[in-house]
Amino acid sequence: MKIEYPYERTTGPVVGAFLGALRDGRIVGNRCGDRVLVPPLEYDPDTAAPLDLDLVDVGPGGAVTSWTWIAEPTRKHPFQHPFAFALILLDGADVPFVHAVDAGSIDAMSTGMRVSAQFRDERSGAVTDVYFVPESAAVAQTITPGQEPVTMTTHLISLEVDEPLAPHRERFRAGLQEGKIIGQRSPASGKVYVPSRGYDAMERVQMTEADDVVCSDRGAISSFTEITPVQYYGQEETEPYVRASILLDGTDSPIIGIDIRGDDIAGVRVGMRVQAVWRPAADRRTDDMDNRWGGAWESVIERWEPTGEPDDDPRPLQQYAF
């Protein structure tokens, strides 16, 4: 499973100047007393006093003050082949700057070695616009400066999570595949929770396979809200729909995140009796189910059909909104 959060951050004048310079093929620091800091800072790191925007060009050459050889890069690293991360004291700077050195081989690396900046062909005003190589391997570059100042950065956080289904969750999944909704009856309270989380949160007891029960696929709507989709990053809904909770007959916790669409929206009310209309067995898809609380309902149940029975009393359903 992939989880993504897109971030846009304002740079402010100091970081913006630093990133703008990188885009333009230069590296800048700023003066702090009699020191030059790289990357430039908005404040004196010792006293927290604000610093004037007193930029100084540094590099492109420098000396490695410490380094490590990354034999197995992560997917987030600047290179997908082995390289070094290093602290680099750029010419004209007084503090080292951490960045990547594309040295080809660990044998090319040593503390004190000279390196030089190289700029990527595609630059966006980001710290990844630059990298370093051993000075002897540096090639002359002609860089055309950009036009506008850099005021924003974008950073897409994208994390992959790979988690096996918890044992109780796997049994729930297998049940859905067979057209059964499996919950668990608490050995402490006798209450039936569905989908189970593998424990009774009220009594703080773990549950086992012996506590599994097959629940009814009929029940009453216990709460609902009509949602008009806002088009945020990752949104897949375009039309208004109803998100409902349903208290299945004989259970003590509602199933939540039940989506009701199209003409079925009309008439939805708390207390309305509904029944699952299962997809044909061959069409049920549960292989992308995860350990989150939701039930992957729509991939196994086509819709929840009103039964036509008289409504349940809505008042006791109030405590089963979630």
Binding site: P45, A71, P78, L87, V98, T128, I157, R197
Partner: protein, 367 residues
């Protein structure tokens, strides 16, 4: 703003606060049930050990991180394990449980309540920790490089070697001893008796670090009960009293720090009063073996005969349930004070790359 910090004066002596009970799960390479279940095991264990009812705990606080397991609002789900009913004062820190303990100590200083439940928990196994941790670094100059703690630890290790403060054999000795110590720790994940020579024969991973210089990827939880004043003596035969507790932070720019020392640890140790008496045991958050060299110097616990025993549990190199790892250091020291094998100990926790933040606590038993 004049740039001048307000002067803070302590107007009263702090209340005495003690750890009265501790619990931890095993460090699991991959725990199949959810994080709340890990927490539930610790909470139920603590209640059984103390005979306290859940509603006797007036404040609960947990340290965890949703990014690790990739589950938004995992910290809310975790309350299932604490027991959401009856409701009490509840808090959360997006930091190791050691910082939850720090906040609980301050909460108990308010004087209106006497008991607190502190939890740390984490499941690192579902995600890729080396891709998650760069997100805690500077979002403009470091995070886009994917600068991960393993890489930063490698840079720190080389700085130590270049400065003549340690050798690769020293790192291997720390790993060898930690894993050997872990043989006596039933909760440890990596426990074995491997020689320095064999460890040094392994290939580099983030040179000069080898894979064994890194902590394992672990799932787990820990929890403790804090009690203020005389009630602590009613619950524990020999409470572990918090005699000093201090937390200091250094710059998030590694270039602004001397990576061969830990100024924040030394300062926290000074304010926690580490040097005010002999230290029997120190549980130190050594996530990467070179950090033990830095931390021993900063805490004033040199290696050698007659000194404090450092990481008798094996430390994080033997089990690293992120967000519980620091709190486990408190668990291990307090346990040794409970059983009388130590009278005075140091628990240390760190956060951020290359020991950026450090928390130091002195725990004592009564004679």
């Amino acid at each position: 703003m004049t740039g001048q910090a307000p002067s803070i004066t302590r107007v009263t002596e702090p209340r005495d606060v003690a750890i009265v009970a501790v619990s931890q799960t095993d460090s699991h390479r991959s725990y199949l049930e959810g994080e709340p279940t890990l927490i539930m095991q610790c909470v139920n264990d603590l209640l059984a050990r103390t005979g306290l009812d859940r509603d006797a705990l007036e404040f609960t606080i947990a340290g965890s991180c949703d990014y690790l397991s990739g589950m938004p609002f995992a910290f809310v789900a975790n309350i299932d394990g604490v027991g959401a009913w009856p409701p009490v004062y509840e808090s959360h820190v997006e930091m190791d449980g050691a910082w939850a303990l720090n906040e609980a100590w301050f909460r108990l200083q308010c004087g209106d309540i006497d008991t607190a439940l502190v939890i740390g928990s984490g499941k690192s196994s579902p995600g890729r920790p080396r891709e998650v941790f760069p997100l805690q670094t500077d979002p403009y100059t470091m995070a886009p490089l994917g600068l991960d703690p393993v890489s930063m630890a490698g840079i720190q290790a080389r700085a130590l070697v270049d400065a003549g403060l340690a050798t690769e054999a020293d790192f291997a000795e720390i790993v060898s001893r930690s894993r050997r110590n872990a043989l006596a720790n039933p909760h440890a994940q990596v426990a074995n008796d491997t020689s320095v020579k064999d460890l040094l024969a392994e290939p580099y991973f983030a040179a000069p670090l080898r894979r064994h210089d890194l902590p394992p990827i672990s799932d787990g939880a820990a929890a403790v009960i804090l009690v203020a004043g005389d009630r602590a003596r009613e619950i524990a035969e020999r409470p572990a009293w918090i005699r000093g507790l201090d937390h200091r932070i250094e710059s998030h720019h590694p270039g602004l720090r001397d990576l061969t020392t830990s100024a924040s640890t030394a300062l926290a140790a000074k304010h926690a009063g580490v040097a005010n008496g002999p230290i029997d045991v120190a549980e130190v958050m050594v996530n990467y073996s070179p950090e033990e060299v830095v931390l021993r110097n900063a805490l004033g616990i040199p290696p050698g005969e007659g000194g404090a025993v450092v990481n008798p549990s094996g430390g994080p190199l033997a089990g690293h349930p992120v967000m519980a790892t620091g709190l486990v250091r408190f668990v291990e020291v307090a346990q040794r004070i409970f059983d009388g094998s130590a009278d005075r100990g140091v628990a240390h926790a760190s956060s951020g790359p290359c020991l950026q933040q450090n928390l130091v606590c002195v725990l004592e038993g009564e004679a």
